[in-house]
Symmetry: C2
Subunit: 291 residues, 2 copies
């Protein structure tokens, strides 16, 4: 499923898309967990601020990761495709335990890195155990089919999503971010419908999917992660659609996951942490819990 999976017997590193606006100061559960995963006080983290148009984005995350106890934080300020071939930067990647890609514009990030030695090394190092996290634009750019932009709304409409090539850490899943906050279900459904047997991961702000080498996804953070399982998705249109028409889709399976849930991306099943099986024989919430 993941292009960089299990080469030479080494476990792949985690892939950690984050929905943007993760808590960085008061209660940084996601970033703290990332630092811990990278080795805590021994962690060497490399920050790629390329998506951002602001000059101090790299410095900001350097401070955050140092405050969280990382031993070493390097910034990889790729500002041109030539930078992405620089031996100096490529060597930094050889020694990083984890890479963090900041928010900004995923098209800028992808266009700078795709088909460069840096992108190649990122994927190879991830396959051998280096963890890769990205927030907002940095999360979007992880998919092979990347959402470059689109319109908001819960209903998929013709022409509402723009896809472009991404960095391809994840091949069959499309990632979207700021998901509930910017009302992006429609565009993620439209993106998933365009990819055979595809699936979608919609991440709320301050919410991350920690995807392990065994392809289980664990939710960390205050929001929810929406999984669109498109295995049985079909177009239900009874006539050709025009631009902006709603697009009929049938057979979508939808899961809304919250902190503590783990989900198997290979089998599309929830693999633990279900409360209702114990608390409610019908497997349904009681009305009181929801209304």
């Amino acid at each position: 499923m993941h292009p960089g999976k299990s080469l030479n017997g080494a476990a792949r590193g985690f892939i950690i898309p984050i929905g943007g606006k993760e808590n960085r100061v008061q209660n940084p559960v996601i970033l703290r967990r990332f630092v811990k995963l990278c080795g805590g006080s021994r962690a060497h983290i490399a920050v790629i601020p390329t998506a951002s148009s602001l000059d101090d984005t790299g410095d900001l995350y350097e401070t955050v990761f140092r405050d969280l106890g990382a031993d070493r934080v390097s910034i990889l300020p790729f500002k041109s495709r030539a930078d992405c071939e620089s031996d100096k930067y490529l060597k930094m990647l050889d020694h990083a335990d984890g890479v963090f890609m900041t928010g900004g514009d995923q098209v800028r990030l992808a266009e700078m890195l795709i088909d460069t030695s840096a992108a190649d090394k990122l994927r190879r190092r991830n396959a051998h155990g280096m963890h890769v996290a990205g927030t907002s634009a940095g999360a979007s750019a992880m998919s092979a089919a990347m959402i470059a932009g689109g319109k908001s709304g819960a209903t998929p409409r013709a022409g509402m999503v723009d896809l472009a090539p991404g960095l391809g850490f994840i091949s069959r899943f499309v990632i979207d971010q700021h998901f509930s906050q910017r009302d992006r279900l429609g565009r993620l459904l439209a993106a998933v419908a365009s990819i055979p047997f595809g699936a979608g991961i919609g991440l709320d702000e301050d919410t991350a999917a920690f995807i392990g080498p065994d392809d289980t996804l664990e939710v960390v953070g205050t929001g929810s992660v929406t999984i669109i399982d498109g295995s049985n998705l079909r177009n239900s249109a009874a006539k050709p659609v025009r631009h902006d028409d709603p697009v009929g889709l049938t057979g979508v399976r939808l899961h809304i996951l919250v902190e503590g849930n783990t989900y198997d991306l290979a089998t599309h099943t929830l693999s633990g942490g279900i409360l209702s099986a114990k608390s409610n024989a019908a497997g349904k919430l009681t009305a009181a819990a929801l209304t």
Copy 2:
């Protein structure tokens, strides 16, 4: 499934929830179809404007239905529960081919009619062939478990939906309206999760579900109808939720239907009008159609 189904061998009348803001003048496809279903130039339609706080809502629809060729339009101005026991009004229902419930406030409509002779007669006449349409509040009030109000957003959250008893033309489906326009997926998911084996029908504006006596639903109008099949829905919460927390749900099946689609509410399958089976061997949209 429907309380008023097939008594004495007569086919039940259609049940027609409409998502609000249906086109009434330039291209009134929904209302024209309703008038035709009721007999066209021989149709006798009764309008129930009770949900509306405006005095001229009944007159407005009287004009619309007359312009569409209905032979007779009566207004049933139920303004008190005593009105709902009035022989004069109850007799009007004996002769109507179809009833139309206007928009406004579904709580006002339901509280006025529930457990009155009028509500009883409406259900019994529907069971014997009288068609019942309702728009916006008039659509919401059709379910037995009625959405009385709630918050917007695509993600279900604890406490985001208020349920109240409705008129019960449809027992196992919760209906919501202005669906895409007011971003109501979350509250419909929350409502469905609270009803064992329940399902939800989310209607966009200017879009109707024509539900026939055989429980097939046909979409008419310019928007989409979202079906939430909750047969396999489970709460995925790993810990108890607090008010406004996102609520984890797994196993939701989602269908987004557009004009021309027909859907079997008993078996939860799309029963016709699928374009992709012919146009696309993979059963997927081509990227070009959606992006």
